[in-house]
Structure formats: C-alpha cells, structure tokens
C-alpha cells in the first residue's frame, strides 16, 4: 500500500514535469495555426516553416556560434586561470573564488543590466560581440568550478614527475595534467555551452535590436501570439536535448565502467 | 543458561542468490559469540537479520523466546555498532551518545549521567563536546560503542567494528572489547573475517561459509579440531592431506602409517587429515616417521616457516630451529596432533572456496 502511494507520488511529479513538454510535441503536428485549437489533422508544415524562415535560421546560427565561441573561450581562459589560481596563496585564492561566485549567485537580470550599463558607459554599442562577451563572463565560473577541484586532485605530483623525466612545462601540462583534468574541462565546456544556448535574460539586455538568438526570438514571437511553429521548435529542441543527454549518459557510464575496470584487481 | 537469541531455519536470498540456507543458530545469554567467515559467507546478513535491518525470506528469529522476526529495528532491545561507526556528523560526541536515550524519553539528569558513565567506560572522559569529525578512527569507534551501550541493550551487535583500524589499534581495541563485555555482562555478537580476532576475543566461534554454519565451538575447539577442510584452512595454516583410515587409531598418509587417536571412521576409508604446521617435528634423516628435503625457508619472527617435500606432499612446517633449503630431514607427528575429518559427501557440503 505504502509502495503504491510512493509510486503514484513519484509518477505524478514526473508527469507534471513532462506533460507540458509532450503536449507541445503532439501539438507541433497539429494542422492548425493556433496551437490550442482541437486536432485538425497531421502535418509537418510547422517544421518546414521553422527551416524555411530566415529569421529562425539566423537565430539558430547566432545561438550556436555564440554558444561554441563563448564556451570555447571560457574554457581556455578558465583552464589557464585555474592553473594560475593554483599558484596563488590561500588567501588570494579564496578571494578569487569569491569573485568567481558573484555571477553564480547574482540575479540574472542584475548581471544583465550591469553589463548593459557598462557597455553604455564606455560607449560600446551593442552587437554580437557584446552578447559574446557577456556569455563568456557568465560561462567562466562553470569552467572554473569544474576544473579547479580536478586540478587540486591531480596535484603537483604527476606534473613534477613529468618535469623530472625531462618534459618542458608545456609538454608536462599537455601530456600529464590535461588528460587527468579532462573530465572537468569537458563538463565545464558542456555546461558553458548549454548555459549559453539556453540563456535568455542576459542576451535580452545585451543584444542590439535585429540580432536574435533562439531564446530572444521565441520571446518576441510569443508576444505577438503563439503560433504552432513554436511547438515545432520545442519538439526539435527537445529531441536535440534528449540526444545530447543520452550521449552524455552513455559516455559517463562508459567512463564509470572504465574506472571500475581499472580500479578492480 | 538460557538462549537469548535463536534463529530457526532462516533463509535469505538477494537477487535470486541464496545467502543463507535454513540457518539454525542458538545464542546463549552473556556470551561473546563471533560469526567468522570469508566475505560473502552470510555472516553480515545474519547479523543484519538479528538487528532487524533485513527480513528473512523464511524462518523465525526469537529473542528471549519471543518471535521478533517482523519487529522493526527501533523496537528491538538490541543495539548495533556499525562497520564504519555511523556517527551522526551533525551532532557532537555527547549528542550522539544521548540520541537513543532522548528517543526513549529519559530525564536530562539521567542522560547526562549516562553520557559521563559511557565516556568513562570507553576511556574518552573529556571528549563530550568534541565534533565527531575531529576524532580518529579508534576514537570514533569507542563513541559508537558508547552510543550503543548507554541504551542498556541485552545484546550488542558488532559488524566488523575494527576493520578500518590499523593493526596496533586493533589489538588494543580487542582487549578493550573483552573488558567491556565483562564489565557490562551482556551478550556480544561479533562479525569478522579475521580469524585471529575471533580466536582472541570469543567464547564461541561460528565459522560460516556460503550460507552454512561450518562449525560452532570454543576457539580451542575450532582451532584444534576443525570438522572439515574449510574450517581447517580458514583458521590458521594447516596441512590438509588425503589419507586412508586403516583402522581405528591408525591412518595412512603418503603410504606411511601414522598412529593417531581418532576412532569410528571405519576401515580403509578415505579421509582428510589436518596437521597444523607447528605440530610437525623435524629431525635428522631416518629418525622420524618419513624423510624429506627442505624446499623453502622464510623467517617469520617468532619462528621459521619451511616447506618440506616428503612422500610426494609439500608439508608446511613451523619451527624455531632453522633448517636450510636443500637439507635432508625427517618429520614426525605426535598422534594427538593428527586430526581426521570425513571427506565431504557432496558439493554443497564441501563449500571450501576460500577467498580471503
């Protein structure tokens, strides 16, 4: 009896989380411009509309280019920063981590307007570049927080051993340290990319009019009225997210399995 | 003495793998009983069934004659000391010890007195206000014991409590536990895979393997008269040799007749013969019961351990006198040091997979 109740509770929560998404997916095949209308037959035209309209394609390209650049730059800068932070004294390091935490705990809208004001103050007009800069800023903490603990775990021993065996500092870093912290680096990059692609608030305030990412385009489209094409977009995004997460789970499981294999005697 | 605990035909399987098979066990009041066996033998499962953390698939558990099989752990009059101490990290030492007493609604004064008493008992008088995270492994273990015994359980269950400690500390704690047991006058049920620990502390040892009790008895009993090959190999080192019982009091090993003291095995019956390495006496060639050559030699502190090839069998021998490798020797075994065991009748009974 208790077990049944538990099962129902867990089921209801997940139903609550997934029902709206599944509704969107189903409605995206509905042959009606208004998504909340009753079923009018199966169609794929809303998917065609997404792919045929240049505004959606542009937004898509903007989103992914900014996402990859922001995550990439944040990863390089962040990993270098972690190495640098290791050389700092304990006190300095705590300071750095406090500063790193600010964008994480700050309200997004405050981060957004603060960047907007800073750009305005220095006379920088908004462009794709300002969006990119803003994205790098909020991605950096994710890289740091994923890489620094790994780097601490790795510690100095492997690096020192490599140097002792005659490797130069760069060679030692790339051949010994980097492979060891790679899981953290990869997670940092992936999280950054996701945050960037998913971001709405900060882009909303740091973009010039006329330049859209998917999020800002969705926002302005829904203001005009929700068309069924938004449902089609949801379906696409859901499928992509599903795919990415499945791959990630697979990779993580493989890594875990490798680890236990190596760990076992 | 009455039985404080009884397990009757208790079986348990996990994921279709039988861990306990119709286990029967009677535990007398005020004994120090050890469940001993390799990992996976069912000893911890037995303890957890007694503690109430696992329900047996079949069978009953009796506590002072009452069926407690379906009683949850919080309603049982026994307490457990867990393998990794399981101290509550968000409470300090005193709060940990007081937890069970608070649950049962004891007065503040009573609780304070009990805390002081328990801390004194485990030699940790001034540690009441400490954070548990600041304590060493050995200290945490003492607090875990204190936390259990303040509730005055009739039975204390200890699940490999010394497993995480280093050797020296482990030995100290063994004496502590014996002292505690004597001071408290309650029943201890102790789980370990360490045969030395079991031999040192227990009144009664239950040797388990693959869900069966292999032998139950006093430490001397278990060590000197192992009932089967598993017990003989698991407890201490031993030579287990195929032999033939020629008749009562005479066994043929490696084609040599050895007088022994066992009777009732019948005539010309194949048996397993157990001889402890310290019971093999080496001498000049020709003087003993059979001749051989020393093949290995290791110094082990209190004695030398040697292997002697004789009669086609490699004999393990421990002696304080060294014989160099290659030396020809003779060996002799006194009749009372030869232990005869029946060959296992079935695969099931054999159960001699030792993986420690």
């Amino acid at each position: 009896m208790k077990k049944v109740g538990k099962f129902i509770y867990i089921g209801l929560i997940f139903l609550f989380l997934y029902l709206p998404i599944f509704t969107l997916v189903i409605l995206s095949f509905n042959d009606s411009k208004n998504p909340s209308s009753i079923w009018k037959g199966f169609t794929l035209r809303w998917f065609e509309e997404i792919f045929s309209r240049s505004e959606w394609m542009e937004a898509l390209i903007n989103t992914f280019v900014i996402g990859i650049l922001a995550a990439g730059i944040a990863t390089v800068v962040g990993v270098a920063a972690c190495v640098g932070i290791m050389a700092l004294s304990r006190r300095q390091r705590i300071w750095m981590l406090q500063l790193t935490n600010i964008p994480m705990v700050n309200a997004e809208i405050v981060t957004a307007i603060s960047l907007m004001l800073a750009f305005a103050m220095f006379g920088i007009s908004l462009s794709r570049g300002t969006i990119l800069f803003a994205h790098i800023c909020f991605c950096l903490p994710y890289v740091i927080l994923n890489v620094l603990p790994k780097l601490r775990q790795t510690g100095t021993l492997a690096y020192d051993a490599a140097r002792d065996l005659g490797a130069g500092p760069l060679k030692a870093f790339f051949s010994v340290v980097l492979p060891d912290i790679m899981p953290g680096v990869a997670t940092g990059f992936l999280m950054s990319f996701t945050m960037s692609v998913d971001d709405f608030v900060i882009t909303h305030f740091t973009r010039p009019s006329g330049i859209n990412t998917l999020s800002t385009l969705i926002y302005s489209q829904q203001k005009v009225g929700i068309r069924t094409s938004l449902c089609a977009l949801s379906t696409l995004i859901f499928l992509i997210v599903l795919l990415v997460l499945l791959v990630r789970m697979f990779v993580m499981n493989r890594a875990a399995a490798d680890k236990t294999l190596k760990g076992g005697t | 003495m009455a039985n404080i605990l009884e397990l009757k035909k208790v079986s348990k399987s996990f994921d279709n793998e039988l861990v306990l098979d119709e286990l029967d066990l009677e535990i007398r009041e005020n004994t120090f009983l050890t469940l001993l066996g390799p990992s996976g033998c069912g000893k911890t499962t037995t303890l957890r069934i007694i503690g109430g953390f696992i329900k047996p698939d079949t069978g009953v558990v009796l506590f002072e004659g009452n069926d407690i099989t379906d009683l949850p752990p919080n309603k049982r009059q026994l307490n457990t000391v867990f393998q990794k101490y399981a101290l509550f990290p968000h409470m300090n030492v005193s709060e940990n010890i007081a937890y069970g007493l608070k649950i049962s609604g004891k007065s503040k004064q009573y609780i304070q007195d009990k805390i002081n008493y328990a801390l004194k008992l485990v030699n940790m008088d001034d540690y009441g206000k400490r954070d548990v995270a600041q304590l060493s492994g050995g200290q945490q273990q003492r607090i875990a014991i204190a936390r259990a015994i303040v509730n005055e359980p009739k039975v204390l269950l200890l699940d490999e409590p010394l497993g995480a400690l280093d050797l020296k500390l482990r030995q100290d704690m063994q004496y502590e536990l014996i002292r505690l047991k004597n001071e408290l006058g309650i029943t201890f049920i102790y789980v370990t895979h360490d045969q030395e620990e079991a031999l040192t502390m227990s009144d009664t040892i239950v040797v388990m393997n693959q869900g069966y009790i292999q032998q139950m008895g006093t430490p001397e009993n278990i060590y000197n008269e192992p009932e089967n090959a598993f017990v003989a190999t698991f407890i201490g080192d031993s030579n287990i040799i195929d032999g033939v019982m020629v008749r009562d009091r005479l066994v043929k090993i490696c084609d040599v007749n050895f007088p022994c003291i066992d009777e009732g095995f019948g005539q010309n019956k194949p048996v397993d013969v157990v001889i402890r390495p310290e019971d093999v006496v080496l001498d000049e060639p020709g003087r003993g019961q059979m001749d051989g050559v020393v093949t290995h030699l290791i110094f082990q502190g209190v004695h030398y351990e040697m292997e002697v090839m004789a009669g086609g069998f490699e004999w393990l021998v421990q002696d304080t006198v060294m014989q160099p490798v290659g030396k020809e020797v003779s060996l002799r075994v006194d009749p009372e040091n030869i232990q005869i065991m029946n060959k296992p009748a079935s695969e099931d009974e054999e159960a001699i997979v030792v993986d420690v």
Partner: protein, 270 residues
C-alpha cells in the same frame, strides 16, 4: 607545481570588466540622475505604489513558489533515496526538462491553460467546469513552480543519496521511528541541498520577468518586469538601476534570513 600566477591574468580581466566594473556601473547609475548629479531619488522610487506593489508581489510569489517546490521536492527526494534505482537515470529524467528552453516550457503552460486549451477540454468533458487562471498570480506561481522545481529537486536529491544508509540504520537501531529518522538525521543532513535548492529557486523566481509576462499577460507586474520596462522600453536607466539595487538588498536580506534559519535549524536537532 605551477608557478605562473600570470595565467590567471585574462580571467582577472574578465572579472574586472565583466563583473566588478558593471556592478559598480549599476551602483553609479542608481545614485545619479540623468545629468550625472548625486541623488537618492532612484532608490526612493521604490516607494512608488506601483513599484512597491511589484516588489511585494515578487517576494510573495517567489516565497510561495519556493515553499511549494520544497514541499514537493523533499518527499520526492526521500522516496527516490529509498527506492535506490538507477541514479544516473533519475538525474537524466530531472535534467531533461531543465535543459529545455524555459521560455518554451512556460509557453507550454500558456497553451495548456488557455480558455479552449487542453486542460479545460479535459475538465469540461469531465463536467468539472472551466479553469480560468491565465493572467492571474496563480498561473504565474504555477509557471514558476514548473520552471524551478528541478532546481529544487536536484540538489536535495544529490545530497540525500549521499547520506550513508548506515546512519539511517543507526538511528533506527537507537529506537527512532521513521518520522524521527527523517527529522533527526535526513533533514539536518540534507540542509546543504535544501539551502542551495531554495537559493536556486527563490532568487530566479523573485527576479523573473519573462514568466510573469508570458503567463500573467500585462496584468501581473513583478519587480523584474518593472526593471525591464525601465531599461528596454523607454523608462529611465537610473530608476531601473535604483530599483535593481533595492531588489538586491531584499535578496540579500532573504538569504541572510535563510542562513539564520539554517543555523537555528541545526540548533534544534540537539
């Protein structure tokens, strides 16, 4: 190992230009008027009844949302912890909706809640009448809970499954009832997860403008909506900055209260 502090240089530059200077800019704009002279009028503009109402509503809705999320997430964490299950798969199921664009997820509720939408279709066919909550605070709370529930569940679940089961067994062993085990052991040990769950829910819920805009129409104005209007729709940046500073103060007060509650919570365990 690494002696190169300078490697942190580019990052320091990003912190300086991307975090510190911008925040100082907000402070500056909040304290000056259009002509650049010092004024407290921007901060004081919170007293404007519209602003005050928006701030109050934001605090209220965020509070309700956080409480509902906590009440839903804590028992769920307990159940998931007990049922064991595949940890990776559970986390996968929780992350999946989180990774969906939150605007689309919010829009989904707008579609569902519409007068002739899916939910009303079911309700009327069951003869239960119509639900007309779109453009009300109820709809906004629903959207907030929906969007932020995973942010509450995930940290709580993560902390809970790490609690060593032998601690739970130890509490049972010492006589605790299942309720006491939760109250004395699991709850205090889950506190870090609960705190970060509350933070991750309350702050975004209180400062959102998109969710209230989508599900509240133009009728529900939260403090985030006011700030957005001031910055992007012809208002005053100075007033917007002033209101942001006030909002920040309220967030900090809330977090301070939370920390105080946390310490009290720990104290009551004894």
């Amino acid at each position: 190992m690494f002696k190169k502090k300078s490697l942190a240089g580019p990052y320091m530059a990003f912190i300086l230009c991307g975090t510190i200077i911008p925040l100082l800019a907000v402070l500056y704009f909040a304290l000056v008027d259009k002509n650049g002279s010092l004024t407290f009028a921007n901060l004081a503009s919170i007293a404007d009844p519209i602003h005050l109402k928006a701030l109050g509503l934001s605090l209220l809705l965020a509070f309700i949302c956080t409480v509902i999320c906590l009440l839903l997430a804590f028992p769920l964490g307990l159940m998931l912890r007990k049922s064991g299950g595949n940890k990776g798969f559970v986390i996968f199921l929780l992350i999946l909706p989180m990774w969906m664009n939150f605007l689309l997820r919010t829009i989904a509720w707008k579609i569902l809640l519409q007068k002739n939408g899916f939910i009303n279709m079911i309700l009327t066919s069951l003869g239960l009448g119509e639900l007309d909550i779109l453009n009300t605070p109820t709809a906004v709370v629903l959207g907030l809970v929906y969007d932020f529930l995973p942010f509450m569940i995930l940290p709580i679940y993560n902390v809970m499954i790490k609690i060593d089961n032998s601690l739970v067994e130890a509490a049972y062993d010492l006589g605790a009832t299942p309720f006491k085990v939760v109250k004395d052991v699991i709850l205090p040990m889950s506190m870090p997860g609960i705190i970060s769950g509350i933070t991750m829910t309350f702050v975004p819920a209180m400062t959102t403008f998109a969710i209230s805009e989508i599900l509240g129409g133009n009728r529900i104005l939260l403090i985030g909506n006011i700030i957005e209007l001031e910055f992007l729709h012809g208002g005053s940046r100075n007033v917007g900055s002033g209101l942001s500073m006030v909002m920040m103060v309220f967030i900090l007060i809330s977090m301070a209260l939370l920390n105080k509650f946390d310490k009290n919570g720990e104290g009551t365990v004894v």
